[in-house]
């Protein structure tokens, strides 16, 4: 059994304001990451080097935003000594911010790996790598937007699905990634090209993990249940 009081209705109005500000900042950071993924998707679709460069450079503001939100969280902890749902919210927000930063990193790394001059990324079984990755990024973005929406709305049921236990979409993506990886290993490509592709796939896999983690944090912030490191269906490798 649990209780979750939405931010607001504190006796101290400033506390409410701070909590809203925290939510806004996390959501903003989420939006920045989503923008990056969208850009990467566009870059892949149009083979646009310029876009890809924007993605690589676009990681920096996300890092700065992480620092900003972190500072804010530390201030909140010091000032308000939060407990109960507030404490969970802030702790979850702090963790989510870390996940977001990592997600941003992965996106930038994928852009860097996919758009380098020397070693192009090969496809597999005639399927061009860019096209495959683009559809996977699209899928990841969709999941990511869902989890951020769950965070915004304290929707722990949707987060439960995303966290992987019965997340068909997460499982579907997971499966595609595995298939692709097997395909790359089996195709006997040039090592450097294969490695690059594998790196991108790994990044996508980690991205999916981050999204799942965010979903777990959302569950924690709403219910107080720590569902990490449980036996999570097939999604956990």
């Amino acid at each position: 059994m649990t209780t979750f009081a939405r931010p607001g209705k504190h006796i101290l109005k400033r506390y409410d304001k701070d909590m809203r500000k925290l939510q806004k900042r996390v959501l903003k950071m989420g939006a920045m990451v989503a923008d990056q993924m969208q850009r990467l998707q566009d870059a892949l679709g149009q083979e646009d080097d310029e876009r890809a460069r924007q993605v690589i450079e676009g990681d920096r503001p996300i890092d700065l935003q992480e620092i900003k939100v972190d500072k804010f969280i530390i201030r909140l902890l010091a000032r308000r000594a939060p407990v109960g749902s507030d404490l969970r919210y802030i702790v979850a927000a702090s963790r989510i911010v870390t996940e977001l930063e990592r997600l941003g990193d992965e996106t930038a790394q994928m852009a860097a790996a996919l758009f380098q001059e020397e070693t192009p990324v090969a496809g597999c079984n005639g399927r061009p790598a860019h096209g495959e990755v683009r559809s996977l990024v699209e899928q990841l973005l969709e999941l990511f937007e869902q989890v951020m929406a769950a965070f915004e709305k304290y929707d722990y049921r949707s987060a439960l699905q995303l966290a992987g236990m019965d997340a068909s979409r997460g499982r579907e993506m997971d499966k595609r990634l595995k298939d692709l990886m097997e395909c790359v290993f089996g195709s006997g490509q040039q090592v450097s090209e294969a490695v690059n592709f594998i790196l991108v796939l790994r990044s996508l896999e980690r991205g999916l993990r981050h999204v799942q983690n965010i979903a777990e944090h959302v569950i924690y912030l709403v219910t107080g249940e720590d569902v990490r490191h449980r036996k999570k269906g097939p999604a956990s490798a």
């Binding site: 059994m1 009081a5 749902s85």
Partner: protein, 281 residues
């Protein structure tokens, strides 16, 4: 029980038992010092406590929190029948100290209070010397037979209260001349001089500055090894810092009692949540 496993929706629909009774774990399986069952307290016509049932674990610090007037101090004072001193106060129900009902008419309050010591909100050393303050209880109950025995007991009590080094040079000075924090530790030393089983503390730090508070909290944590401690506090942080179990009272009812960690991260009842997070309850 896990939320997820139970599949209970967190949006307000609640387990049936919490609407009229305590949530959390009022009763313990392990060693219990005090058992309260269906305690009701009245001040004249006014009812101050409604059907409170709780177990106080042995060698644990149990903290009572709740808004002013919620009955937590009243409840605390039931444990050594200090409510007897208030003429209009009536207590119904059962409170067992090691299976003896302390509200039994045959129960004498004098030995009861020797077993259940109490420390008050404002330090209240007697207007006597430090030594006499500590010696008061042992003399009263005839626990020592000689001066040297008494000296030893005084030293032991003061040491245990962490005050010996500060006052050993001036045992003859009046206890009222100490600082607030020292006075409170003197009162704790006075209480433990008769080696009670339980020490009740009624907001023991509310009149102290943060440093003195820290000292007393440190002391409470140490005392836990030998004594069962029940404390009322207005500071949730303090409850979170020093107690192992926390009980939340609201308008004379025990709303929730649980492990302190759980109360402060994930309380079960929305009133508790609203109170600890500082929302309108």
């Amino acid at each position: 029980m896990s939320v997820i496993d139970a599949g209970i929706r967190p949006d307000g629909a609640r387990d049936a038992r919490e609407t009229d009774a305590t949530v959390g774990k009022p009763f313990l399986e392990k060693k219990v010092t005090l058992r309260a069952r269906n305690v009701n307290v009245f001040y004249g016509e006014k009812q101050a406590l409604f059907d409170v049932s709780i177990d106080i674990g042995k060698h644990e610090v149990t903290a009572f929190i709740g808004p002013s007037g919620c009955g937590k101090s009243t409840f605390l004072r039931c444990f050594n029948r200090m409510n007897d001193t208030i003429d209009s106060c009536r207590v119904r129900g059962e409170i067992l100290l090691d299976d003896e009902d302390i509200h039994d008419p045959k129960m004498d309050v004098v030995p009861l209070r020797a077993r259940v010591g109490m420390v008050f909100q404002k330090p209240n050393p007697f207007p006597k010397s430090i030594y006499e303050n500590i010696a008061y209880g042992p003399r009263l109950h005839g626990l020592v037979s000689g001066k040297s025995e008494l000296d030893a007991l005084v030293e032991k009590s003061l040491s245990r209260a962490g005050l010996w080094n500060e006052v050993k040079e001036r045992l003859d000075e009046p206890g009222t001349g100490l600082s607030g924090g020292q006075q409170q530790r003197l009162c704790i030393a006075r209480a433990i001089a008769i080696n009670p089983e339980v020490i009740l503390m009624d907001e023991p730090c509310s009149a102290l500055d943060p440093i003195a508070t820290a000292r007393v909290e440190e002391l409470i944590d140490e005392l836990r090894r030998k004594y069962t401690i029940v404390m009322v506090t207005h500071s949730m942080q303090q409850a979170a810092r020093v107690s192992q179990r926390t009980a939340y009272f609201h308008l004379g009812r025990l709303i929730e009692v649980d492990k302190t960690d759980r109360i402060f991260t994930n309380p079960s009842h929305e009133l508790t949540e609203a109170y600890i997070t500082g929302r309108f309850g």
